[in-house]
């Protein structure tokens, strides 16, 4: 069961630079491991992460197998108005998850 952990401050002052921390539970199978019988374990990773604020993209990342399991990504953004952050993770085998967090800007 995929689940996301998002850390966004609930309130901020106009013009503040805030830190956003995100974690999505995912195996991030590299495709380079083998089972005991020698079969390759097929790749199963998150390939793309996007963060939008009120519909506008503010941060995006391309992920590769070298990103550790349960991808944890933190970044910064400037807030100018109240609104909603939307997060989207897309990956192999049709993986697609979203999460959101609201912020009040005073």
């Amino acid at each position: 069961m995929p689940s996301a952990l998002i850390n966004v401050p609930k309130k901020a002052k106009r013009g503040d630079i805030i830190e956003i921390k995100t974690l999505m539970s995912h195996i991030m199978e590299t495709g380079y491991r083998h089972t005991a019988s020698g079969d390759v374990v097929p790749r199963d990773i998150i390939t793309s992460f996007t963060c939008r604020f009120n519909g506008t993209e503010v941060f995006r990342a391309d992920l590769y197998p070298a990103i550790a399991a349960n991808p944890f990504i933190t970044f910064f953004t400037t807030v100018t108005e109240s609104g909603k952050f939307e997060f989207e993770w897309i990956g192999d085998k049709g993986f697609s998850e979203t999460a959101s967090a609201s912020i009040t800007v005073e």
Binding site: D62, F75, F76, T77
Partner: protein, 153 residues
């Protein structure tokens, strides 16, 4: 004489076995693959050292999860900001680790994540600025337990 013949045969037998083992292992990213991956991002542009700070522990016990922070010195204004940050490695099966796309409204050009390292190696971060110049930082990491080598259950 017979004895030395025996040891030579044994020696070739062993080296042959070792060669076969090398083929079975997934190939490491070669320096050529690394420079190709970097060229893919920077094109013909010159990559200069500086402005980028790559924070990663110099000695890690577990290569499966290595914390990493990349920050870039930039005023992050509408005229002067960091467009993207690209992270590469030397010896994992693939040279790419991640690409991170920022913009002027990021406010601070800094990203953190956790990465996998298959061996002791160099990690390189390259930043693309709004004037399309490229800046880089490289760090050496010693890994005691490598990622990717264990068998899946």
């Amino acid at each position: 004489m017979a004895n030395s013949e025996h040891t030579r045969r044994t020696f070739f037998g062993l080296t042959g076995g070792a060669a076969a083992m090398v083929i079975v292992r997934p190939a490491d990213a070669t320096p050529a693959m690394l420079s190709a991956a970097i060229r893919n991002v920077v094109g013909e542009a010159n990559v200069r050292t500086g402005k980028v700070k790559l924070e990663i522990p110099p000695l890690v016990e577990n290569g499966n999860t290595v914390p990493m922070t990349v920050s870039v010195t930039s005023p992050m204004t509408a005229d002067e900001y960091v467009k993207s940050i690209h992270v590469f490695n030397e010896k994992n099966p693939q040279p790419n680790i991640g690409n991170f796309y920022l913009g002027p409204r990021a406010g601070r050009a800094q990203v953190s994540t956790r990465i996998r390292l298959a061996d002791s190696q160099k990690v390189t971060a390259i930043a693309r600025l709004s004037d399309d110049t490229f800046w880089s930082a490289t760090a050496d990491v010693v890994v005691t337990l490598a990622a990717c080598t264990e068998e899946a259950i």
